[in-house]
């Protein structure tokens, strides 16, 4: 419980909601609980109560705000274009400022993301501990973390490949596959490595807006003096970097955001440069990462890029409902993340696909943990090209 606090939400954005409820079925937490408090409409209503009517932030209100996966499925479903993503980020930032959110604790954990070497060292340690079964399962760590992988070499100056923080430590093989595919299309690749330690997406989601801004500025500085496109193979990072322009509201940041592309989006625009090879004999279902589908809204390009390389592409039948990963969400709300994943797994089961393609590391880890065979679209394309060469 608290006294009245100002969430500092844009009143126009908040007032845009007409309480029609059309977003409810697109919200994973409403879908698995049927509770209004865990729906976008309920969350917006509670934001209004707190901001406009001085209602205290009770345990229930906090639960409503903190259980949001920030998938933004509600946003693309909303005919009134309520910018829910910004509302919830700002709400969390205000709660952090007031010191009434567990996000304050997360700041410490997220600090590690800024130190790649530390992160890799920690990963090696976690990996060994995990294999010795010393890590509790509900922490949602991937079953096999890499102990050590070679760094991505620089092969040219055409494009940047954003390597990031956790992903570089945990899924460097995806970067490697992406780099090979880009090379096959004739693009020389410069990995961003130490130039940009972390994009700050998780910080922004947790409401740590100062950290998020600082990291954004650092990223922009790291890749400045250059107008090469910045290609991203993690949908969450891509969405966050495309948002720098809005967040920092400077010309420099806007120009930076213009340079950011999802790697699938980039390849879909350069399909003619990719080699023509026999497709892999696989039926692949696409699991759209929320930040590709609902935030960047370029999920169709994954299909365009992937379809020449696999024999069958299948659509899941759940309208792109979130898988429950949500960055740090799967660690912070493991039970809810698990129920949401169960729904996704049922849809995957119905699809009968051999492999699920996801362009986001968090989703892949979360689903792989439930025994789903996951691959990044770049790994599939890479494999098809390699098979043709062999």
């Amino acid at each position: 419980m608290t006294g009245p606090i100002d969430l500092l939400l844009d009143p126009e954005a908040l007032n845009g909601c007409v309480q029609c409820g059309l977003c409810l079925p697109h919200c994973p937490t409403y879908r698995v609980t049927g509770e209004e408090a865990l729906s976008p409409r309920g969350r917006i209503k509670l934001m209004r109560e707190v901001q406009d009517h001085g209602a205290p932030v009770t345990k229930d209100v906090l639960r409503s705000f903190e259980t949001c996966v920030q998938c933004r499925g509600c946003e693309s479903a909303c005919p009134s274009a309520v910018p829910f993503g910004h509302l919830i980020e700002q709400t969390r930032a205000s709660l952090v400022r007031e010191g009434i959110s567990r996000s304050a604790l997360m700041r410490i954990a997220l600090k590690a993301l800024e130190f790649p070497r530390l992160l890799r060292l920690g990963t090696a340690f976690l990996s060994i501990a995990n294999r010795m079964k010393l890590i509790p399962k509900q922490l949602g760590l991937p079953a096999r973390l890499p102990v050590r992988q070679p760094a991505i070499p620089s092969t040219g100056q055409d494009v940047f490949l954003f390597t990031g923080c956790v992903m570089d430590a945990w899924q460097r093989d995806v970067h490697a596959a992406g780099a090979r595919v880009l090379e096959a299309a004739g693009f020389g690749v410069t990995p961003t490595n130490e130039l940009v330690p972390c994009c700050g997406a998780l910080h922004a989601h947790a409401g740590l807006s100062d950290d998020a801004r600082r990291l954004a500025e650092k990223a922009i500085r790291g890749l400045s003096g250059d107008d090469r496109p910045i290609l991203v193979d993690s949908a969450g990072c891509g969405a966050s970097m495309k948002d720098f322009g809005r967040m920092l509201d400077t010309e420099e940041a806007k120009a930076f955001s213009e340079r950011v592309f999802d790697i699938g989006e980039w390849l879909a625009n350069h399909l003619d440069r990719l080699p023509e090879v026999a497709p892999l004999d696989l039926s692949v279902a696409i699991q759209d990462p929320c930040h590709l589908r609902h935030v960047q809204r370029v999920h169709e390009t994954t299909r365009a890029a992937l379809s020449p390389f696999v024999s069958t592409l299948i659509e899941l039948d759940d309208d792109g409902l979130c898988c429950g990963a949500g960055g740090a969400f799967m660690v912070l709300e493991p039970a809810m993340a698990g129920s949401i994943r169960d729904r996704k797994c049922a849809s995957i089961e119905r699809s009968g696909a051999d492999v699920i393609a996801s362009a986001n590391p968090g989703c892949s880890m979360h689903l792989a943990d439930a025994g789903v065979k996951m691959m990044h679209p770049m790994e599939l394309i890479d494999r098809a090209i390699a098979a043709a060469r062999a």
Binding site: V18, C20, L22, L24, E35, A37, E49, T58, V61, P79
Partner: protein, 473 residues
């Protein structure tokens, strides 16, 4: 009471925090009910029975609730009742294709049911624009309609039997899956009773076969009158389209901003018409509709070229109410039915009433069955606007009644249309309705204060207290 409820359900499924009680004060309408009592999320018929019995012991009323998309305040709490939220009872229990019947729990989402049947080539015909979120229980309670009910009939025609928990806590099954029920058709009385006769806990719905062929036409006109006349002429020509929906220019633009489906932005009115059936038949019917439209000066004629385009056009139409906030933060939506031949005249008087009250009016409606949805736009933060909206609304309702219209096409009466019931029904009519209600619920404990106007409802017996929202803790 809270302790009893929690013992019967579980701690997590009985909520009483200020946050939840505030959230359940609303549905999708402008009406506020004040803070609710405890909110229960039952998972079985037996739990609903327990809730009813506990409510009776403690002399509390109950209000059933589905997804809360109702537009007339039917699910809002009056007098801090126990809210019985049916959203966790969302299992499709049994699908019997041979007999064309499915048993579902009331919390099943309308579109989920149709989706799960699509592999089998069937659907649940009522398709309210809110179908992606509203529940079958809410559809039954409000006898919901939808664009495609023009050809197939509203919910009533698609519900065979209903298991109901009465206020006594007893369970009865109304109707029968074998078609005609013996004795009085109490199932028919329950459909459309807006939660005032009891709580539906299981519903047997009729399954409809998917049509082999569909044609979707998007027609635009330079005047609303031409569009309305086209609708009237199509039906007069003996064509029964599956759906005929009209939108005026303002709402079409709001919708197009959201979906980008290719709706023309400059036409005074657009008509979305759909015909379904055998391939040969739909071709002939769509051609005839085009001819009728041409004779009414259609500005443009377009046929949806793919399933994807058709889906996008419908997505636009079905999200129309939600798109309004692009223009103004609040809206008040009416729902009345007028004879088709009077559509054009009534629409003109509606725009005129809006102008006189200095309010923006938009129209998007199920034209085929004369079901109007005039929308009055306002900003609730501006003092006096809502009063103007209510004044204009009253005039609109009277204008519809004056040409032989009725109070509600599909959204029900709730608390919204209560004051007008006496204009539509005689005192004897209302007394009989109240007697029917009392034979189900003698103490008027289920959803009191709704539908029947004061004086003809026993709502007053329990002094409906209303706790304003904002009183937390």
């Amino acid at each position: 009471m809270l302790r009893d409820l929690r013992r019967a359900l579980s701690r997590e499924r009985v909520r009483y925090g200020a946050a939840d009680r505030t959230l359940f004060a609303h549905d999708a309408s402008v009406f506020e009910g004040g803070l609710s009592g405890p909110i229960c999320f039952p998972e079985s018929t037996a739990e609903v029975q327990d809730i009813m019995r506990i409510a009776m012991q403690h002399e509390r009323s109950v209000v059933p609730r589905g997804a809360g998309t109702g537009l007339t305040g039917g699910a809002i709490p009056l007098g801090a009742p126990i809210v019985v939220a049916m959203t966790k009872m969302d299992t499709i229990l049994e699908v019997d294709i041979a007999n064309g019947v499915a048993w579902v729990e009331p919390g099943v989402v309308n579109l989920d049911l149709t989706r799960s049947l699509s592999e089998l080539g069937f659907n649940f015909a009522p398709d309210p624009s809110s179908q992606q979120v509203c529940t079958i229980g809410g559809n039954v309670a409000n006898n919901a309609g939808g664009p495609h009910c023009l050809a197939y009939g509203v919910t009533d025609a698609h519900v065979l039997a209903i298991e109901v928990v009465l206020s006594s806590g007893d369970v009865v099954t109304l109707g029968s899956v074998r078609g005609e029920s013996l004795g009085l058709d109490l199932r028919g009385a329950f459909v459309g009773s807006e939660g005032t006769l009891g709580i539906a806990t299981k519903i047997a719905v009729r399954l409809s076969k998917n049509p082999p062929a569909v044609r979707t036409l998007l027609l635009s006109f330079s005047s609303m009158r031409d569009a309305a006349q086209t609708v009237s002429d199509v039906v007069a020509a003996g064509i029964v389209p599956a759906a005929m929906e009209v939108m005026d220019r303002e709402i079409t633009n709001a919708v197009e901003n959201y979906v980008g489906a290719g709706y023309p932005r400059d036409a005074a009115a657009v008509l979305l018409a759909e015909v379904e059936g055998l391939e040969g038949g739909v071709e002939i019917d769509s051609q005839r509709i085009v001819e009728v439209a041409q004779s009414n000066n259609a500005k443009s004629i377009h046929r949806a070229e793919s399933e994807a385009e058709r889906a996008l056009l419908w997505k636009g139409r079905k999200t129309a109410f939600g798109a309004i906030a692009q223009i103004k933060p609040d809206y008040y939506l009416h729902d009345s039915v007028v004879p088709r031949s009077k559509l054009a005249d009534v629409l003109e008087s509606i725009y005129e009433i809006g102008a006189r009250h200095d309010l923006m009016v938009m129209n998007v409606f199920h034209a085929g069955d004369g079901n109007l949805h005039p929308i009055l736009l306002y900003d609730g933060r501006i003092a006096g606007e809502l009063e103007r909206v209510h004044a204009a609304g009253a005039e609109i309702v009277r204008a519809c009644l004056a040409v032989g219209g009725v109070l509600s096409g599909e959204h029900g009466i709730g608390v919204e249309k209560q004051p007008y019931m006496e204009e539509q029904f005689s005192s004897d009519d209302l007394d009989h309705q109240e007697r029917l209600r009392r034979s189900f619920d003698p103490m008027c404990r289920v959803n009191p204060g709704k539908v029947l106007p004061e004086g003809h409802s026993c709502a007053d017996i329990q002094a409906l207290r209303s706790i304003p929202t904002g009183v937390w803790g």
